[in-house]
Each structure stands twice: as structure tokens, then as C-alpha cells.
């Protein structure tokens, strides 16, 4: 008899420049807050999954985090899956508990790229150890924004669009972030302000790029939690999927179509649900172009029409397809190796109907999407509110 596993706790702290003394201190705070939120005693944690921050030299980061917390979970693993990591860790934790590996599980990802190393050093490090091939790409000086700009140029050329399509994404996310206390960038963004932001790699401007943020989040899953012990309506993982093309853009077979759709199809099939069942989509958008391509790959818009989903605030909390109600990576923040964690946290908060002013009315099914590299690898999870399970 397989067990019932629910997401019972979440935690997130404000993104931005935070001043945490170490990544370990941040991990500890997030895990403790998520366990508190779930009402789960720390000594029931049998699974702990993490993503190692680049600055942390630990052999197995998850084991070091457990040590810091004074815990000895049997299953302690760190994931190397880029921005797809949070979704894949959620799935792994869920499957471990379902298979009887323990009582509760913690998934945590956090990083401090603004604290400790300079923003400049972080951005350059990313160009060297990020999704840029050390032999056949590095000699030509592509930054990570430049890699996404190659896709953006190809996309705008293919569908004869101008920068308004990109601006629609940046402005949508900013409008959403205004309603979230943990978001990094919350000031209003007009189209002229977008166009005044400096060019980074044409056609991408500064406001097409997610900010470098300190931050992260944690999620707690519990197996067979008695209803009386629950603090929140349970949220379940109904299904998940993944899709991968390749790590380097040099070798990509398409410049405008990648594998987000493969990931979503897998999740829909596993969950026995249809695209139309999705009440809220949390899309990985480290750059504005990522939102457009991913929305279209997932079938939420026709090719070249991704921006239409977002314009006129149609995709706000009351829109037809609410998207990134927390502001996305573009405005909620991009905490380096922990990118994508806030998508997961926002889904749980919305499914609890605890999102306040930004609440999606009657939210019962939420899509959480994560992406590694330059559209390289994708993961999608469908989370559902208890009564919809």
C-alpha cells in the first residue's frame, strides 16, 4: 500500500542583498522555518535534498547542511540540475517517501551571490562555469545573457517581432512582483523605462535579465500526516515530467524550440490532467526570452504569440492564465544556484489560498516549471490542492 505524501511546509525569505553571514546560516534558517510551517519535528526528517552553492566547497553539500542542523537523515543528496533542480528534488523527495524511505523530507535551495562575492565576480564566474562550452564557446566571449540573446534574435527574426514582446515579459513580472513582499525588484516599469535600461547583449537589455539576488526557499513533504496535525490544506504532487535537448547552444538542433513542452506533456500524462486544468503557471524566466519560448513550447500560446498571454495584465491573478504571480525570476529574483525555488514556493502558497492580494481565485492546479542552462533541460510538476487530488 503506497503512502500519501503531501507538501506540508514552505519557507522563503526576502530576495535581494541580504547580508546573511554564510550560505549555511541561510540554509539552516530556511529549513527550520519550513519545518515550523509544516508543524513537523526536525528529528522526523529522513530525506534532505539540496543544491550546492558554487561558493561552497563541501564534498556532499546536503550532508553538510544536515550536520549544520544537527540532523542525520538517512538520505542526503545534492542535485546538479541547474534551475530544474527544485522540481526534480521535489519529485525525488516525493518518490522516496512514497516508497517508504522515511517520515518527512526537506528540499532546500539557497544562495548568496550578492554576499561574499561581488555581483561582477558572480556574473563572470557564470560565464566560465555556466552553460558556455570551455573549448568551443569560451574563446568567443559569450556571456550567459549573450547566449539567451542569440535565441532572442532568432525568435524575433522568425516571428517578425520587436522589443515589445520582450518588454511585455519584463513588465508583466514586475507588475506581479509589486504584490510580493519577498520580491527583489518591485518598482514600476514603464515601456520607456524598459527601453532606457542599458543594452547588455542585443536585443537583451538589463531589464530582460533576472537580477542577481541572495535568496532561496525550502519545502517540507510529509508521509501520511494525520489530518489533525496539518496546519495548511495539503498540497500534492499530481505528476511531473522532464525533457532535455543539450547543454550547449552550439549543438542545439533548433534555436527557437526546446523541451519545456516535453516536460509538461510528461507531467500532464503522469497526473492524468489536461493543459486546460492548469489554474496558474510558474514559468522559469531567467531572461525575458525564456518566458516566451517556454510558454510556446508548452502550448500556452501559438508560436510567436507568447507575449499575448502576458499583455494587458491578462496573466495577472485574475487573468485567463495567471503566470508568475510572484514576479518570476525576472523580478522576484534569481538566487544563483537556487533559481527556480521561488516558483515552487509560490505554487504551494497559491494552492493553500494564502497569497493575499495576489491570490488566484480558486487555484486548484498549479504548474511549476524549472529550466537548466540555455533551454538545455526542463522539469515540470503539477501540484494540486487537497480536494482536487
Amino acid at each position: 500500500m503506497s503512502r500519501t505524501v503531501a507538501i506540508a511546509g514552505v519557507a522563503e525569505l526576502p530576495h535581494g542583498k541580504t547580508g546573511w553571514p554564510s550560505t549555511m546560516a541561510l540554509h539552516e534558517a530556511l529549513v527550520r522555518a519550513a519545518l515550523d510551517d509544516a508543524g513537523v519535528p526536525p528529528d522526523t526528517v529522513d530525506v534532505l535534498l539540496t543544491v550546492a552553492p558554487r561558493s561552497d566547497p563541501y564534498l556532499v553539500h546536503a550532508v553538510a547542511v544536515a550536520e549544520r542542523l544537527g540532523l542525520s537523515p538517512a538520505h542526503c543528496h545534492s542535485y546538479e540540475a541547474g534551475g530544474a533542480g527544485p522540481v526534480l528534488m521535489l519529485r525525488a523527495a516525493h518518490d522516496l517517501l512514497r516508497a517508504g524511505a522515511g517520515r518527512s523530507a526537506v528540499v532546500v535551495a539557497a544562495d548568496l551571490p550578492l554576499t561574499g562575492v561581488s555581483r561582477e565576480a558572480y556574473v563572470r564566474n557564470l560565464a566560465q562555469v555556466g552553460p558556455v562550452h570551455p573549448e568551443f564557446e569560451v574563446p568567443f566571449g559569450p556571456t550567459v545573457p549573450a547566449m539567451f540573446a542569440l535565441v532572442a534574435r532568432a525568435y524575433l527574426d522568425a516571428y517578425r517581432l520587436d522589443d515589445e514582446a520582450l518588454a511585455a515579459v519584463a513588465r508583466h513580472d514586475r507588475a506581479m512582483a509589486a504584490g510580493h513582499p519577498n520580491a527583489h525588484q518591485r518598482g514600476p516599469m514603464s515601456l520607456p523605462a524598459y527601453r532606457d535600461s542599458r543594452m547588455i547583449a542585443e536585443p537583451l537589455r538589463l531589464l530582460d535579465c533576472a537580477p542577481v539576488s541572495d535568496g532561496g526557499g525550502a519545502v517540507v513533504l510529509v508521509a501520511d500526516q494525520p489530518a489533525a496535525d496539518r496546519r495548511w490544506p495539503a498540497v500534492h504532487l499530481a505528476g511531473s515530467g522532464a525533457g532535455t535537448t543539450g547543454l550547449h547552444l552550439s549543438f542545439a538542433s533548433s534555436l527557437t524550440e526546446f523541451a519545456a513542452g516535453v516536460a509538461l506533456e510528461g507531467a500532464l500524462q503522469a497526473a492524468g490532467r489536461r493543459r486546460a486544468d492548469i489554474d496558474l503557471a510558474l514559468i522559469y524566466d531567467c531572461f525575458s526570452i525564456a518566458m516566451l519560448v517556454n510558454l510556446e513550447d508548452m502550448g500556452f500560446a501559438a508560436r510567436g504569440h507568447g507575449a499575448g498571454v502576458l499583455q494587458d495584465r491578462a496573466a495577472g491573478a485574475a487573468g485567463r492564465l495567471p503566470v508568475n504571480t510572484h514576479g518570476g525570476l525576472l523580478s522576484h529574483g534569481h538566487p544563483a544556484r537556487a533559481g527556480g525555488m521561488s516558483n515552487l514556493v509560490e505554487a504551494v502558497i497559491q494552492l493553500r489560498h494564502a497569497a493575499g492580494d495576489r491570490q488566484v481565485e480558486g487555484c486548484a492546479t498549479a504548474l511549476v516549471h524549472g529550466m537548466a542552462g540555455v533551454f538545455a533541460s526542463h522539469a515540470a510538476a503539477l501540484l494540486v490542492r487537497e480536494e482536487a487530488a
Partner: protein
């Protein structure tokens, strides 16, 4: 441009040796004849061994970006520079730079040909591209191509 030095391996020595001699040398299948990129030990299509052969060096810009914020301090003096994905006439793509012209002269569909520039410190020559004049070389005939083997992968190297 002040190109960062590539992290090379013994496996790709023919590529860099060719570049040092002014030739763009790429893996080609000894079975089906298709050009393959990236480097592998066997053709992902037919499984036959690959060998290194000189390519025409001609291609077309698929997409490009003008970089305003450099990837390194060394490259900061070179902004704005053009990073492009070039579709070679042989059917594979290279990420590279388009040099020798104003960024505004670069567009998707522009014909380009290979040239070589030294990387910083190592002096390793790296393949970059320059725009062809409108009346310049046209697409090379795939079946008319001749090639010589620079380096044949020996069994123990596969």
C-alpha cells in the same frame, strides 16, 4: 579580439593544429560522409568512425548578438563585439565571432568565411568569421568537396 584561451584536450588537437595552419578542420564520418559536431568517437547517425577533414570555411549567420557587457576584463576593451552562430555549408554550426566590420553590418543570413585570430596568452589560433562581399563565395557543392585526412582516430583513441 582578445580571445580567452580554450581549454583543449588531446582529442581535439587536430582542430587546433588545423586552425594554427589556417584551416578549419572538423570531424567527418568515414561511413555516411556527414560532418559532425561536437567531437565524438563514432558517427551518431551510422556508427562509423569519424576522421578530421578540412571544411570550406564558408557559412551563413544564423543568429547573432552584439555584446555590450563583456565576459571578462580582457574582453572589456573589445565591446561591442559580435557573437554569432554560423551555419557552415557542411551542415554543422559553430559559435564564433564576426570580426572586421561594424556590428551593424551583421545580420541573419549574411554569408561569412572563416579567419583566424590568436587567443590571449596561449597564442592558440581560434576560428572567427568575416563577412563575404555580396559578390563573394557562394555555397560550396557538398558532393564536389574533396578533403584530406589530417588525423585519423586510432582504435585505442576511440
Amino acid at each position: 579580439m582578445r580571445h580567452p584561451t580554450p581549454t583543449t584536450t588531446d582529442e581535439t588537437a587536430p582542430f587546433w593544429q588545423g586552425a594554427g595552419e589556417g584551416a578549419l578542420v572538423l570531424p567527418r564520418c568515414t561511413g555516411c560522409g556527414r560532418w559532425r559536431w561536437p567531437v565524438a568517437s563514432a558517427c551518431p547517425g551510422c556508427g562509423a568512425p569519424l576522421h578530421w577533414a578540412p571544411a570550406s570555411g564558408l557559412g551563413t549567420v544564423l543568429t547573432f548578438t552584439v555584446v555590450h557587457r563583456a565576459a571578462s576584463d580582457a574582453l572589456a576593451a573589445d565591446v561591442p563585439y559580435v557573437v554569432a552562430l554560423v551555419a557552415l555549408d557542411e551542415g554543422v554550426r559553430l559559435l564564433s565571432n564576426v570580426v572586421g566590420c561594424a556590428p551593424s553590418e551583421v545580420s541573419a543570413g549574411r554569408r561569412v568565411r572563416v579567419a583566424f585570430e590568436p587567443a590571449e596568452h596561449s597564442g592558440i589560433m581560434v576560428p572567427v568569421f568575416v563577412v563575404c562581399e555580396p559578390a563573394g563565395p557562394t555555397r560550396c557543392a557538398e558532393d564536389g568537396a574533396t578533403y584530406v585526412t589530417y588525423h585519423r582516430l586510432e582504435p585505442h583513441e576511440r
